[in-house]
């Protein structure tokens, strides 16, 4: 009995600690002049959202941010899926060494790497533009993508692929029809994780983008200390809403893929 109450207590604590603050952010964004020492707002007002959606700079950087995020996710799949597959079902020589090397971007400050790459990327002409920012966002995302996808492959027995090969499917078909459907949960979590990490980058974008590539975080920092708390709160809610938008995008492509599978 005591255990049950602890659980209920802890679960409501969890809600207040982790979900309530974000809801609070949302409430803050639809009020006006809710300042210290008012505990509750006087009026609800959509003024902050009008400010946000009338700012052409925010509009444009919203597009840039989502574009960069989606391309980073796609590149992550292209690079990490084969690598995770090889690490899980294959047997490369020096596997432990490779896995340690893959951990490097996690175990080393990415800022050091980005600072070292700055001059090279300027010389190659990939600094100060979107391409460079996309490439540098691979740095903090790839180790996590490989990790999540490898854990996914580890749960699938290699026998599945062997079986499909014995009945004569090609390698590509075995991948798309047998492996990929089983990998969907991992692919989904890797995608959302990578998108959120890309969305959270400020300093890498600032250095390699050179102020020329304005993603949302680059606009957010100057906003941070602004007096209009409702606008900053609304801007913050935007960041929480983008992963949800991405999830919808992702779910619809998974739906299309499943439709395609059924038609085979």
């Amino acid at each position: 009995m005591r255990k049950k109450w602890t659980k209920i207590l802890l679960s409501s604590l969890l809600f207040f600690l982790f979900i309530f603050p974000v809801l609070f952010l949302f409430f803050k964004s639809i009020t006006f002049g809710w300042n210290w020492p008012d505990i509750l707002p006087h009026t609800l007002n959509l003024r902050a959202w009008t400010v946000i959606f009338n700012d052409p700079l925010i509009y444009r950087s919203l597009f840039t941010t989502v574009f960069i995020g989606v391309v980073v996710v796609i590149l992550n799949y292209l690079i990490a899926l084969p690598a995770a597959y090889a690490l899980s079902h294959g047997n490369p020589r020096g596997k432990t060494l490779i896995e340690t090397i893959l951990l490097l971007p996690i175990l080393v400050p990415v800022l050091a790497i980005a600072m070292g790459l700055h001059l090279v990327m300027i010389r190659l002409g990939i600094a100060d533009n979107t391409a460079g920012v996309i490439l540098i966002h691979l740095l903090p995302t790839l180790p996590y993508a490989v990790r999540v996808l490898k854990a996914g492959f580890d749960r699938i027995s290699p026998d599945w692929v062997k079986q499909s090969r014995t009945i004569g499917t090609s390698q590509a078909a075995a991948f798309f029809i047998v492996l990929l459907p089983m990998m969907l949960p991992s692919i989904r979590s890797a995608g959302i994780l990578v998108f959120v990490i890309s969305l959270s980058q400020y300093v890498l974008t600032a250095i390699i983008g050179g102020g020329q590539v304005t993603t949302l975080p680059l606009l957010y920092y100057p906003f941070f200390n602004s007096a209009n708390e409702a606008v900053v709160a609304g801007f913050s809610v935007l960041f929480a809403a983008l992963p949800i938008l991405f999830l919808i995008l992702m779910e619809s492509s998974i739906y299309l893929y499943k439709q395609w599978l059924h038609r085979l």
């Binding site: 969890l14 603050p21 210290w36 294959g90 020589r93 070292g116 001059l119 913050s236």
Partner: protein, 284 residues
């Protein structure tokens, strides 16, 4: 299982990226941190004689250590208490929600609640108790930064520990109990052999990440002492790039420190794991 050659073909794009970006980036950062003249370590000597650097390093290690330790303790406690509940998805969602929020937005949430003109301060003001709300944001003790990191990283700790706790053979607990173990002994002998290595790994990931992260301390920190990444970013652009070698040298020192720590910790985990597999005196 397929051949080593085919594995390398599949790994090639990733390894190429690692060499071109991580390898080259570290190499260039190191070579740019060296002095062109006779004494090639001059930048490092200059760095080590600066009080600014030492106070930055001190505050960085302190913030990273305290945030990581508290996140781990709270995360471990939540996982232990709730792991049976977490079988269903809606509970997982509740605990993992902060993972969807970028660090700088989390920093703003902390400002809304904990700043002197924040919500908690307003609540305290309305209560009949006397007393002013303490300064927790942009404070020299970096409490706002630490609170932000705890809020963000506890879900990560839970995410990493949950699979471990769901796989522990809980019959071992009954064995331990019937042998007369209780409390901490039970925890150490039943849970820790599984949870320990993952805890060490999470400690490493979080500690190194917080040590090298710019986003939160740039918003909630103070100018002096600034955390190392904030100071490095400032030096990187200062005086027409003339302080760049110094910034690079500082980040190289931080990198060296991180790698050294990783090696020690991973080695210790390996050793204790081997000891545990063999049995013997260590856990008797």
């Amino acid at each position: 299982m397929f051949s080593s050659a085919r594995s390398f073909l599949l790994l090639a794009p990733l390894l190429l990226f690692m060499i071109l970006f991580v390898g080259q980036g570290l190499y260039r950062a190191f070579s740019e941190s060296l002095h062109a003249g006779d004494n090639f370590l001059e930048n490092y000597e200059q760095l080590f004689t600066q009080g600014t650097f030492w106070s930055s390093l001190q505050i960085s290690v302190y913030v990273a250590f305290v945030s990581t330790l508290l996140s781990l303790i709270i995360g471990l406690w939540i996982t232990r208490t709730l792991f049976r509940l977490f079988r269903t998805d809606q509970w997982k969602l509740a605990a993992w929600f902060p993972m969807l929020i970028p660090h700088f937005v989390a920093a703003y949430i902390i400002v809304l609640f904990f700043s002197p003109s924040g919500w908690f301060s307003a609540v305290l003001e309305s209560l009949p108790l006397a007393g002013t709300f303490p300064v927790l944001v942009n404070d020299p003790l970096y409490l706002g930064v630490i609170i932000t990191y705890i809020w963000k990283e506890v879900p990560f700790v839970v995410l990493m520990l949950l699979p471990v706790y769901q796989e522990i053979d809980w019959r071992m607990e009954e064995v331990g109990r019937s042998l007369g173990a209780k409390g901490f002994t039970l925890f150490r002998t039943v849970e820790w052999p599984w949870a320990g290595p993952v805890t060490a790994e999470v400690f490493l990931i979080l500690f190194v990440f917080i040590l090298g992260a710019f986003e939160v301390p740039a918003l909630l920190g103070v100018t002096y002492p600034a955390m190392v990444p904030v100071l490095a970013f400032e030096w990187f652009y200062q005086g027409g790039w003339s302080n760049r070698p110094l910034a690079q040298a500082m980040m190289i020192v931080l990198t060296f420190f991180s790698v050294l720590l990783s090696f020690c910790l991973l080695y210790a985990v390996q050793r204790s794991r081997r000891k545990w597999m063999k049995g013997g005196k260590s856990n008797a």
